[in-house]
């Protein structure tokens, strides 16, 4: 079925099709319409799930953690300060290896108070052990939510599906709603390898001693460090599972492609502009304009941010003369986090491209195509003389 709806409704429809069993959320702009839609689905009987209203985002994720521990498929969504209020439980969900899915509708972080879009909220949750997927349009929102459950349940690691507040959440676009029967076949009922139930009482994730120990069954049980090692190893291995899930989805629904980098004219590009989220589609217009001036530019939209697909990044960027990273986030006191990661991935290449970093769009500052054009043209023209360059776009100071 082809419909025109908002990004938040696309996400809600994805959750409904995924047959999530427990939803707990707290309203925060610009996420609110997503969970409002889910509560409507449940109220009307269209969706068979438990909607648990809570008094905070910390509680929302706690409820989802408890639900997933007993074997339910659980979902929540939030933005900005709400996401930060969850922070403790975000770490917890990853350490407890629960396959939750959370939509993060990207919004800038206070102070000062802002409700508009940038990526500082989800980027600041980078090191929690969650998988982070970024999407570029409404079709990707609905599809990625469904894929996220499949991925999370396969690797026992929670997944964030991040999309731009307002730019995607509140705009209307046509998209295809996947057929419910096909989604059921793609994503069967959640059967966890372990679920807590009253017949077999257990303590989960209680104080775990620094060293490994002998458990009640006389077996060697992991200490804290072994469990964290496994989270790291399994996250690194999940890059392959991301690829597997994408292929399976493509085979069934005929949509999808590269789950790591959405590439636009990168094959013959001398320079590659990089971003995450909807900005990468705006950059395509800039690439077209620069190609009119015989500057061969391609665009790479990074879709998987954690685990970082460094091998794919190297393959994609190593032959370019220059890489220009446009970011709506900063690692305060240093520079753009995506810029850092790409630079680090390229470190072992023999002929490293120059790499520039632009900060832009913070707190919803409008990103003008002309400004992108000027910055990118400057980097492409003068790049080799400035191996590293960091600048701001749209700053009025």
């Amino acid at each position: 079925m082809h419909i025109i709806e908002s990004g938040n409704v696309a996400a809600a429809m994805g959750v409904k099709l995924s047959k999530a069993q427990v939803i707990a959320a707290y309203p925060i702009t610009p996420q609110t319409p997503l969970t409002e839609k889910l509560s409507e689905f449940i109220e009307s009987g269209e969706m068979n799930a438990e909607y648990i209203p809570v008094e905070s985002e910390h509680s929302a994720l706690s409820v989802c953690i408890a639900a997933a521990t007993t074997g339910a498929r659980a979902f929540t969504a939030t933005s900005a300060n709400g996401l930060l209020y969850m922070h403790e439980q975000i770490h917890w969900a990853a350490g407890a290896r629960l396959p939750l899915v959370m939509c993060v509708v990207n919004r800038g972080v206070g102070a000062p108070w802002t409700i508009w879009n940038d990526h500082q909220d989800s980027i600041s949750q980078r090191d929690t052990g969650w998988i982070q997927l970024y999407v570029n349009d409404h079709q990707q929102i609905i599809d990625t939510v469904i894929k996220a459950f499949s991925l999370a349940e396969e690797v026992s690691i929670p997944v964030m599906v991040c999309y731009d507040g307002y730019l995607l959440s509140h705009t209307y676009m046509p998209f295809e709603v996947p057929d419910a029967d096909k989604v059921d076949a793609f994503l069967p009922l959640f059967k966890p390898s372990y679920a807590l139930y009253s017949g077999e009482p257990a303590n989960l994730n209680t104080v775990t001693l620094p060293d490994a120990r002998i458990d009640v069954h006389g077996k060697l049980a992991h200490g804290y460090m072994e469990l964290r090692y496994l989270l790291q190893e399994n996250l690194r291995q999940s890059v392959d599972v991301v690829s597997k899930v994408e292929t399976k989805f493509m085979d069934m629904f005929g949509r999808g492609g590269d789950p790591f980098i959405e590439s636009y004219m990168c094959e013959d590009a001398d320079f590659i502009a990089v971003s995450m989220g909807s900005l990468s589609y705006q950059l395509r217009d800039v690439a077209d304009l620069l190609r009119d001036e015989n500057i061969k530019v391609g665009v790479a939209g990074i879709r998987l941010y954690r685990p970082f697909p460094d091998k794919v990044i190297v393959e994609h960027f190593q032959n370019a003369a220059g890489v220009v990273v446009f970011e709506k986030a900063i690692s305060y006191g240093f520079h753009g986090p995506l810029y850092s990661d790409i630079k680090s991935a390229l470190y072992n290449c023999k002929n490293r491209p120059f790499i520039h970093n632009y900060t832009l769009g913070l707190g919803g500052r409008e990103i003008k195509t002309k400004e992108l054009f000027n910055a990118l043209k400057d980097s492409c023209t003068n790049g080799s003389s400035q191996v590293e360059k960091r600048g701001w776009i749209g700053l009025k100071i």
Partner: protein
């Protein structure tokens, strides 16, 4: 649910002695039972066992005489506090240094 191997990737423990590690090492004061005062011993009956009932770590047996598992007893002193005939004394661990080696 049946058997499962959730211990592989998550921290998991079940009710039973020792699943929190050898907590006896935490002990500063050791509860010592004077069996000449202990009610079940004196009466030779399955009686009292207040220490067994109150021990939060379930390391005291319901036997005559009751036996404390020092491998896991944290030395909280609840048994000594609750014993109705003051048969349990809390003794400094340093006193046992020589005999424990």
């Amino acid at each position: 649910m049946g058997t499962r191997d959730c211990g592989r990737i998550t921290s998991h423990s079940e009710p039973g002695p020792g699943d929190g590690g050898r907590t006896g090492l935490w002990r500063v004061l050791r509860p010592v039972i004077d069996i000449t005062l202990c009610i079940p011993v004196k009466k030779n009956k399955q009686a009292c066992f207040t220490c067994w009932l109150y021990c939060p770590d379930a390391v005291i047996t319901r036997t005559i005489p009751p036996v404390i598992d020092y491998e896991y007893c944290k030395g909280c002193g609840i048994c000594a506090e609750e014993c109705p005939v003051d048969a349990i004394r809390m003794v400094e661990e340093g006193k046992f240094f020589k005999e424990d080696g």
